[in-house]
């Protein structure tokens, strides 16, 4: 059931918010033991909110699943980490949650993720395995693997994830749902547990493009509690949704279609591009020449910011504290060693290294300059075209465990999604078909659409034309 169709049923009196919640709880009981998308949910609390839901509001009575790094008052917020799993309860609502509530929605369910959103497979969750509902031997993608898997499995109607380097778009692509990363500054990050503050952005995962527009409408906008949140008007994201692509110029960057792309991914993405051309879009070959440097740039900047942000997890104010520390330094070191998993430790060490004296200029300072070059690539491209089309990931979902002990190999698979975060521009993943891959059939493939800063409405309009 889509969010939009449930809204119509609610307004017509054909269903109730409580009935939707009971239905979801039944679906979770039936299938989530296999999929593993939910870390927890509180049906009683949600039903209490449902009883008071104002159905006249834009998302009135609709439950929305929440990635477990977004604070909801009184609920757990584990970030997929042991360090927060023992006893943390959120003392406040994130701004996106306040906005969802103001739009009548009900936060329901805490969704699995890679620990502190570091990963592309949800295999770095310290708490449980999440499986792709299209093929349970495969990853759901990550880091928002729980939100994507639940929406694909129809155990959630819509979800919020976070995207630091592709963590909404890539799992959406792997699970066959829609995932939108808004422009940096479009949505408040207040109450999102910070991974890399200059890259993080909260976005919706939904079954349809229209549903993504509905959720974005509710969460976008200025927030005085986030100094990076932009004080600019929020457009009506539904108004132009069905305007089509006739006359739009859409760029196809040659760097995103090189070797290393699975033939099935290429075929589906090229078919989607043909479909847009058939609807009157002009397809233009373009170049984003610094694409090959995106992975190196990102994996310097993101760990640097993470090493700083995660210093707050020290066993003092919240989270895990080691049992019998010898002294205060021992408390910090043991609490962090016991609480963090291997990928988080790797990135903290990497980030600490690239920020340390003697290496700062060679790595961090240089990566910030290359980030400027990547940003300029897009600025130049958007002088020519309205949006850019590409694959989301080089391959469909791989098998669980396939890249164990090879983090660099895993990082390289993020090549098509990282640049949007580095440049601060919006991106959407929309399903564009299925393919055979690695012994599996019918694995979903996503088309990525990237647009100029704050042009989410245009992305939704193009994505809608792909979906139809």
């Amino acid at each position: 059931m889509t969010l939009a169709s449930l809204r119509r049923q609610l307004l017509a009196g054909d269903t109730t918010s409580a009935a939707i919640l009971h239905h979801l709880a039944g679906e979770i009981a039936a299938r989530d033991s296999l999929t593993g998308a939910y870390l927890s949910y509180d049906l009683e609390a949600a039903l209490a909110e449902a009883a008071l839901a104002d159905l006249t509001l834009p998302l009135g009575g609709i439950p929305i699943a929440i990635k477990d790094n977004i604070n909801v008052l009184g609920q757990p917020c584990t970030c997929g980490s042991k360090i927060l799993a023992e006893n943390y309860r959120s003392p406040y609502d994130a701004t996106v949650i306040r906005k969802l509530r103001a739009a009548g929605a009900i936060p329901f369910g805490r969704m699995n993720q890679d620990e502190f959103a570091m990963g592309s497979a949800t295999e770095n969750s310290a708490l449980q395995t999440t499986r792709n509902p299209r093929d349970p031997e495969r990853i759901p993608g990550g880091s928002s693997g729980g939100p994507a898997a639940a929406v694909a499995d129809a155990t959630a109607i819509a979800a919020l994830g976070s995207d630091t380097g592709g963590s909404v778009r890539q799992p959406a692509s792997h699970c066959g749902v829609v995932g939108l990363k808004p422009s940096y500054g479009r949505v408040s990050r207040y109450g999102l547990v910070a991974f890399a503050s200059s890259l993080d952005q909260i976005g919706p995962l939904t079954q349809t493009v229209e549903d993504a527009a509905l959720v974005l409408q509710a969460i976008a906008g200025f927030d005085p509690l986030d100094s990076t949140c932009l004080d600019v008007p929020v457009p009506d994201y539904l108004a132009g949704l069905h305007h089509g692509v006739h006359g739009l110029k859409l760029g196809v960057p040659k760097e995103y279609f090189g070797t290393g792309i699975d033939p099935g991914v290429r075929k589906n993405v090229e078919s989607a591009i043909q479909k847009l051309a058939a609807q009157g879009a002009e397809i233009v070959g373009i170049s984003l020449p610094h694409t090959e440097h995106a992975v190196a740039t990102y994996y310097v900047i993101a760990p640097a910011e993470a090493s700083s942000n995660l210093s707050r997890f020290d066993g003092i104010r919240y989270g895990h504290r080691t049992a019998k520390p010898a002294d205060i330094l021992d408390l910090y070191k043991k609490s962090r060693d016991e609480g963090f998993g291997p990928e988080v430790k790797r990135r903290i060490i990497l980030g600490t290294y690239v920020l340390s004296s003697g290496y700062y200029d060679a790595f961090y300072g240089r990566a910030q300059k290359v980030r400027t070059l990547i940003r300029r690539d897009f600025e130049a491209a958007f002088q020519q075209v309205d949006a850019v089309l590409s694959p989301v990931a080089p391959t469909p979902a791989r098998k669980i465990g396939a890249f164990a002990n090879d983090p660099l190999h895993e990082y390289l698979s993020d090549i098509f999604t990282l640049s949007a975060n580095l440049a601060g521009i919006p991106g959407i993943s929309v399903p564009c078909g299925t393919t055979h891959f690695d012994g599996a059939t019918n694995l979903p493939v996503g088309l990525q659409i990237l647009g100029p800063h704050l042009c989410e409405a245009k992305l939704l309009q193009i994505a809608q034309a792909v979906e139809v």
């Binding site: 060490i349 790595f363 910030q368 070059l373 990082y411």
Partner: protein, 97 residues
């Protein structure tokens, strides 16, 4: 000059992480491989290029200097691993003179 050699145990100490010998043995080659990949950035000419710390054109925004409600001490202490007398308790942080 190569910057891809990393003393994992030393950097972990700076980051207040106590690693086991096994962890050091696993991380050492992984981190060196990642740093070798990152060293490719040194081939690019970035002369005169401004660094991007932040992708949106918003800088130094100040809010109005008006008091507003914040979380209560009680709400914040609820997550503290150890507390006493409405304060967070930690081991002694100074040694005896």
């Amino acid at each position: 000059m190569s910057h891809s050699h990393i003393d994992v145990r030393y950097v972990a100490k700076l980051a207040r992480l106590e690693l086991s010998d096994e962890e050091v043995a696993i991380f050492q080659p992984q981190l060196e491989a990642i740093l070798r990949h990152a060293e490719a950035l040194s081939q690019l000419d970035v002369t005169g290029i401004e660094p991007t710390a932040h992708p949106a054109p918003v800088f130094d925004r100040m809010r109005a200097d008006v008091p507003h409600a914040s979380l209560s001490p009680d709400a914040l202490l609820r997550n503290a691993p150890d507390q006493t007398q409405a304060q967070i308790r930690v081991p002694k942080v100074v040694t005896d003179a």
